[in-house]
């Protein structure tokens, strides 16, 4: 009897390993290309970004994000195609007015950034200019677009690496917006 169990051992091992593989390959939250956020739960890094030249909006500093309002911080660039894809969603969020939207223009040229916002609309109250991605690095940004939600005290509550989609908005962002907005 025990010998027969012994021969079943490889099959059982296979089942366990295959189970883990199936879990890892099918669960979208376990995508190995997705880097887990190290920034959630940390206060926002120090920054004092100048405005984008030619854009009629003030720049962005850390103090702006600690003035008691919940804020969505969006890193974008005019050359970034997924930014274009998520832009209508940001416009809709700005329209809704539940939280303030600010932008960081990442590794971009001012004229191109102005043209980008002229074409697609401007959802931001403030836009900081970060031509060398230094503030991006301080936020742990590895590429655009990335989006952070910062609470009223300037703590980072959420980081989305990659473009926002309706699904991400409803499933992950919305609960946090409601918690902070309420």
């Amino acid at each position: 009897m025990s010998a027969r169990l012994f021969y079943l051992l490889p099959v059982m091992l296979f089942a366990v390993v295959a189970g883990y593989f199936a879990w890892g390959l099918t669960d979208p939250d376990r995508d190995p290309n997705k880097v887990p956020s190290a920034m959630v739960g940390q206060p926002i890094p120090e920054m004092d970004l100048p405005p984008v030249e030619g854009l009629d909006l003030p720049g962005l500093s850390s103090a702006d994000l600690k003035d008691g309002r919940a804020t969505l911080v969006n890193f974008f660039a005019s050359w970034c195609v997924p930014c274009r894809a998520e832009h209508p969603l940001l416009m809709a969020l700005a329209e809704e007015g539940e939280l303030r939207l600010v932008g960081v223009n990442y590794s971009d040229a001012p004229a191109a950034a102005v043209a980008f916002l002229d074409e697609l609309g401007n959802p931001y109250e403030l836009v900081g200019f970060d031509p060398r991605a230094r503030t991006g690095i301080d936020f742990g940004v590895s590429g655009v677009p990335e989006t952070f939600v910062v609470d009223a005290e300037g703590m980072i509550r959420y980081q989305e690496i990659g473009p926002l989609t309706d699904k991400i908005l409803e499933e992950r962002l919305r609960p946090i917006i409601e918690e902070l907005g309420g």
């Binding site: 887990p36 190290a38 991605a133 230094r134 690095i137 936020f139 590895s142």
Partner: protein, 166 residues
């Protein structure tokens, strides 16, 4: 050129080829000691855009900016660990190619040794079991003894029956 000379030339070329690097002359530090430290650090820092390249070998803008940043931190007097910590605080452990030793990574670090140990014990138990069974075969029971005797008896060629041919 003969084949042998060609092969020798190829080997020599491969031997002399340095590791791939993307560090631009303008990024280099004047202090050779600091520059060497920056190179060693850069080789263990992941470029998060290309993910399987170090910032030392990547041409991505972010990698370039991180190389400059690593050098700035070194010039400011950071130790190697402080530079790593600075990046890990922002990008997580993923930014390092060599995962740090901590409770959540013990299995990663010691797992292979553990598997070897378990496998070794398994093999040991198996051989010991085999030797034990081989050394002491169970004595034949009385029924087996008589059966053996009968078989041996019947194996003797009987004079009356000719050997069977097939």
């Amino acid at each position: 050129m003969s084949l042998r000379a060609g092969l020798a030339a190829l080997c020599l070329t491969l031997l002399l080829a340095g590791p791939l690097q993307a560090v631009e002359p303008s990024e280099r530090l004047d202090d050779p000691v600091l520059e060497e430290r920056a190179r060693v650090l850069s080789q263990n820092i992941r470029c998060l855009v290309c993910q399987n390249e170090s910032i030392d070998s990547s041409n991505a803008d972010l990698a370039k900016e991180l190389r400059v940043l690593v050098r700035e931190r070194l010039v400011a007097g950071d130790t190697n660990d402080e530079v790593y910590a600075y990046l890990v605080r922002r990008y997580g452990d993923f930014v390092l190619f060599e995962p740090p030793m901590k409770p959540t990574t013990y299995l990663l670090w010691f797992g292979p040794a553990l598997l070897l140990l378990v496998g070794g014990i398994g093999v040991g138990v198996f051989f010991r079991h085999q030797r034990a069974t081989a050394a002491a075969p169970a004595p034949l029971s009385e029924a087996e003894q008589t059966r053996l005797a009968r078989l041996l008896e019947s194996d003797r060629p009987a004079a009356s029956e000719p050997p069977e041919r097939t």
